[in-house]
Symmetry: C2
């Protein structure tokens, strides 16, 4: 294992320290916790997300004006504990209630739920939106039901705009669930990542082989085969995404998300092919974003997220709003 680290069990601590020291005008650490919070608070419903580390810039990179109020960092690929999530809730609380945005993994669901109960004992009103945008497989390692992956970032962005617009906790919960229902993601992997505490790659692929449907923790997908040209990969992913909607969306937002080790060059080539396919299907692409937003350490691969905005043009406005974060 060749990584720029000091010791595997110190990575999250040192990374967190590096994040808040690098961007002190945007984020701060809640002392003695694994919570990254906004520097400036305001009278809004607090948005808290988080999960295992290893998905950087998610989630700390999306804390700031117009997006999250706090992110809670677990160990690498491990849910944060309930007491840490509780600290995140307290940091985000401005007496307007707090909404938890949780990716659908068994550990996260359990721990965020427990933190919700603890916060309610402290008289903080808390609601939860569960993101399960990955359409690749129905159940998987760590998950009952579909996994939460890169589409989570679009949920952060749209809810962040709504929170800034002073919408209520119940309105935000409803909005979040509406957005999640229209958000679908599917990914491919070319090379696995190495979890530092494990020390070897999470799975093996042959020199010319890729895997469709791999999750952001290297969970198995649905097929391995020889790599194909980008156009054909795009065709497979776009087709699968469109099949996941009851009817073909007329207007969409698109996110091509790099998994950490795949260069932007390939991400843009792929997006170009996706846009060609959307044109073929007469789908109007209203918003596009390309980059490493929800990674899997240094995994090579990418995911494609589609959000149906046909009946919600205001979601496009929300996606386009300026924010002050490290990484949006």
């Amino acid at each position: 294992m060749k990584k720029i680290i000091n010791a595997p069990d110190q990575i999250v601590e040192e990374m967190l320290s590096g994040i808040v020291r690098s961007y002190p005008k945007i984020v701060t650490r809640v002392e003695d916790t694994r919570v990254v919070a906004r520097v400036k608070s305001s009278e809004q419903v607090g948005l808290v997300s988080g999960g295992g580390s290893g998905h950087e810039p998610a989630h700390a990179g999306f804390v700031g004006d117009g997006m999250l109020h706090a992110a809670v960092l677990g160990d690498v690929f491990t849910s944060p504990t309930p007491d840490q999530v509780l600290e995140g809730i307290k940091a985000a609380n401005a007496n307007q209630g707090v909404l938890l945005i949780v990716k659908n993994y068994t550990g996260d669901i359990l721990n965020f739920d427990m933190a919700k109960e603890l916060a309610e004992m402290d008289d903080i009103e808390v609601e939860t939106v569960v993101v399960d945008d990955d359409i690749a497989v129905e159940n998987s390692t760590y998950t009952a039901g579909k996994r939460g992956v890169a589409g989570t970032v679009l949920v952060h962005k749209i809810l962040g705009a709504a929170s800034r617009a002073k919408r209520s906790l119940q309105e935000l919960k409803t909005l979040g669930e509406e957005v999640v229902a229209q958000t679908k993601t599917i990914g491919i992997a070319l090379e696995a990542a190495t979890v530092p505490e494990v020390g070897h790659k999470g799975f093996e692929l042959a020199e010319d082989e890729i895997e469709y449907g791999v999750g952001i923790h290297g969970e198995p997908g649905y097929r391995k085969e020889k790599i194909k040209p980008s156009k054909e990969l795009a065709e497979e992913l776009v087709t699968k995404l469109l099949e996941a909607y009851e009817e073909t969306p007329k207007e969409i937002a698109l996110l091509v998300n790099g998994m950490g080790g795949t260069p932007l060059m390939e991400q843009f080539v792929f997006m170009n092919d996706v846009l060609d396919l959307c044109a073929t299907h007469a789908i109007h692409v209203r918003f596009t974003k390309v980059g490493n937003l929800m990674t899997s350490i240094e995994m090579q691969g990418l995911s494609l997220t589609m959000l149906d905005v046909t009946t919600h043009p205001e979601w496009v406005d929300a996606l386009e709003e300026q924010v002050t974060t490290i990484a949006w």
Copy 2:
């Protein structure tokens, strides 16, 4: 070679298309050229940069209000031709003159110079700032003198602010040269990148080996040895950078730049160590940025850039100004 592409000789064309189609509100392509230009023009000195592709998001990702006016894309790791640079100059020209920001590689210097001459025949006033921030080696593959690497992005940012503030062409050239003189960079590589047209890795490192001083095209550095903890890597790079200044800077800006395949997790761990060392040396860090800004396709590694701002607090303001680009 496992890459998400269609054909090696189509990558730049398709990537460029992907970039402008993904961000049509920020950038546009000058028709039938390899030039990415701002959507909105204004009465400013035009800033043009560019070079070989493979360094994404540089340089097209830094086109937009407050930074570059146009970026010219060559083939992968290959200088753009003079006629393409000329198109970039024309796109950036708003009758206030055009400044070329060129990384110090023999091909780039030649071709940007030739384009300057062609533009002057068209009565466009053109000046050049050459960036040679890499202190690792004095001469290298492709270069006479020091190489231009990640520090170039800081030059873009500070000159972008000055152009927006309506400074003159001569003032910008002088400013650019002052910034370059205070900008020092050094990098390390853990794994080489594969140039698509070549099909195999540009150099080889053993499983536990890294190379100090590697350039952004995989040019040789100054030493190979076993990987060390991040703290020790930081110590080596910080020491070399400080030695490159006549006296230890009192106040600096810092950029940790990922080479494409190294996750943010490691970049933040490393920055944390760098900040510790700066504290030890009683150096005040006024500005910090971490991320993949000037990559070498999917090379694993990073570089550290230091900019002495001791006598120029206004450079910090320039670095902090909001801009509208894809990737700053």
